[in-house]
């Protein structure tokens, strides 16, 4: 048993499938009340980690505790304390929303009165009006997602797992889901473990972010801390010519942390972008034609690039080893 102020703890967690290691020696220590963003491209091991923490999969090695209980030795105790919305909204299209929530309540041992009360609360929370009495098959993608989250909340769990809750949602539904996640955390003090392939989502929502790549946790920290580690500012130069040759030149400038060529772009990290951008422009002019020069603060994409040499684009890992961006599919 772990201290009660820890919601999720993993020690050397490993999960293999037929010789392929999907999750490799992952350590986690997530205090109660935190929103933890688990960030990585498709196939990085995010969903497998969630399925292990939620007791759907047993670990191949290592241990994990959720809400103070071992996921392998006490899965029933873990299930009583967690709510889970998996990547694909796991709903029965032929049930109505009310039938689904009622059944969910019964399976968590709630009495009829408790279920009635929770149904009232959740109907307001997910705000899908009269649609709750309609078959789920008639719902839009956003409504299904919200119902899925409501089903995960029926029994008022201590820890909520949201596996890519906004994948496939339109921007309005995505913003709405963010708002719900924030409020659940702020007002109910619920620990939320959120996996995402969207860098801005992790940046926007998470108190701390864990970056997973090829099954390994490669970095962890508050988004601001992770971004600061890359540098204070980022200068992006779009060039006519080879960015690789320009990188060598720029890297020698004072105040520049590093310069990474990405196709026809050169991404330069610097301590003080405003003070450095002039020198960068002059240096670049000597080796290539600069079409565009932008100064911005670092993003988690820059962190991911720094740590893995790749970027995440539309959920896929994109490597910049060649001039042409190459999509790398990773088996899950």
């Amino acid at each position: 048993m772990h201290p009660t102020d820890t919601a999720i703890k993993a020690e050397g967690l490993v999960r293999r499938f037929n010789g392929t290691t999907a999750v490799d020696e992952v350590d986690l220590d997530i205090p109660r009340g935190e929103i933890y963003g688990f960030l990585g491209p498709n196939g990085a091991g995010k969903s497998t980690t969630v399925r292990v923490l939620c007791t759907l999969l047993t670990p191949s090695a290592g241990r994990a505790f959720v809400a103070g209980h071992d996921v392998a030795d006490e899965p029933e105790q873990v299930r009583l304390r967690i709510g889970v919305a998996l990547q694909e909204a796991a709903l029965d299209p032929k049930q109505t929303g009310v039938q689904l929530l009622r059944l969910q309540g019964r399976l968590y041992g709630l009495s009829r009165r408790e279920i009635d009360r929770r149904l009232g609360d959740l109907a307001q929370l997910i705000d899908i009006g009269d649609a709750l009495d309609r078959p789920i098959g008639t719902y839009s993608g956003g409504m299904k997602r919200r119902l899925d989250v409501a089903a995960a909340l029926v029994h008022d769990p201590e820890v909520l797992f949201l596996d890519e809750p906004t994948t496939g949602l339109d921007p309005v539904s995505r913003a709405r889901m963010w708002e719900e996640v924030r409020r659940l955390n702020d007002e109910l003090d619920m620990t939320i473990f959120l996996t995402t392939q969207y860098l801005e989502e992790a940046d926007e929502l998470a108190d701390r972010v864990g970056i997973i790549n090829d099954g390994r946790l490669v970095a962890e920290g508050a988004p601001a801390t992770l971004k600061r580690a890359v540098g204070n500012d980022v200068i992006v130069a779009r060039l006519d010519g080879t960015a690789a040759a320009a990188a060598e030149r720029v890297e020698r400038l004072p105040g520049v942390h590093g310069a990474e060529p990405r196709g026809d772009e050169l991404v330069i990290t610097a301590d003080d972008g405003a003070a450095t951008i002039g020198a960068v422009a002059v240096a670049l002019n000597n080796v290539a034609t600069v079409r565009h020069l932008t100064l911005r603060t670092p993003t988690l994409d820059d962190v991911f690039l720094e740590l893995t040499g790749n970027r995440i684009e539309n959920g896929q890992r994109v490597t910049d080893e060649s001039d042409n961006n190459e999509l790398v599919e990773v088996a899950s």
Binding site: R51, C54, T55, L56, L57, T58, E76, R79, L80, R81, I82, V84, L86, E88, A89, A90, L91, D92, P93, K94, Q95, Q99, L103, Q104, R106, L107, Y108, G109, L110, E114, R117, R118, G120, D121, Q124, L125, I126, D127, A151, H155, D156, P157, V172, A175, R176, E179, E180, R183, L184, E187, L188
Partner: protein, 273 residues
């Protein structure tokens, strides 16, 4: 964009506390869902009734003159009733719905709750038994209208329905095992084909005494033979306890085999995740 607010009730009302429900409650919860789905999925219920009635009527029409003119005091309608019922109830199974639950991810949702794993299966099977009972009744009523008298009386008719439903349950285990193992609807649909050799290599169309040597030998090892003889005894001769006992043992034998496969498949699926 409308902003969603956490209802005040969330903070004020005492928090609910999740707790494991009893096995019985879990089974009834799952069975309730399965039964509520039946009116929306009549295509899964109507064909078994149609097939049972079809075989009942056509077999009587085909064999009545031949059998009743050659076998003294033979009642083809009473003889064919158990055959028709077995053809009907053997096809009853919610295993196809379980496959859809696997494909939709809904099975994962159930597995994430504290529900007992065995209750997920039993819940579906309880629904199968209820459907099998409901399916048997109209065929029994039709047979009475056609002149069949149930020698074991009303209680015998209820026992007839119960035995038919238990057989449905025992055989349904194969469908669930295939569903859990493969998650493939086509494979589940083919489970019914397993029954055909057992149905034809037995006394389904003529009494065992009329079967040729090799077929009679196979029929002696076929559990469906004893099931048919037990059901027929209720219709044609009344309470014949040895026939009923053999029928129950035959169902138990098939049930133990199918449920073992089913539980192994369930363990495999929950282990694989």
């Amino acid at each position: 964009m409308s902003v969603i607010s956490i209802p005040a009730a969330f903070d004020q009302a005492p928090a609910v506390r999740a707790r494991p429900a009893s096995l019985g409650r879990d089974v009834m919860s799952i069975a309730g869902r399965a039964l509520r789905a039946v009116p929306r999925e009549l295509e899964t219920v109507i064909p078994p009734i149609f097939i049972a009635l079809f075989f009942f009527i056509v077999n009587i029409g085909t064999l009545q003159h031949l059998t009743e003119s050659h076998l003294k005091s033979f009642d083809i309608k009473a003889f064919m009733l158990p055959t028709a019922i077995l053809i009907g109830v053997t096809g009853v199974s919610r295993a196809g719905s379980l496959v859809l639950d696997i494909q939709d991810g809904y099975l994962d949702r159930l597995l994430l709750t504290p529900v007992s794993r065995i209750a997920i299966l039993l819940g579906h099977m309880v629904a199968d038994v209820a459907i099998a009972c409901a399916l048997t009744i109209p065929i029994l009523v039709l047979s009475v209208i056609l002149g069949v008298s149930i020698e074991a009386g009303l209680i015998g008719a209820l026992v007839f329905i119960l035995i038919a439903a238990l057989w449905c349950l025992a055989f349904a285990g194969f469908g669930y095992a295939i569903a859990l193992k493969t998650g493939n609807p086509a494979a589940v649909n083919s489970a019914f084909l397993l029954f055909f050799p057992f149905l034809f290599m037995t006394s389904s169309y003529v009494p065992r005494s009329q079967l040729s040597g090799w077929l009679n030998t196979i029929a002696a090892w076929n559990p469906v033979t004893y099931l048919l003889e037990g059901l027929r005894s209720l219709v044609t001769t009344g309470w014949q306890w040895d026939s009923l006992l053999k029928a129950v043992l035959a169902i138990a034998g098939v049930g133990v085999l199918s449920m073992s496969l089913c539980l192994a498949a369930l363990r495999g699926r929950t282990r694989r995740g």
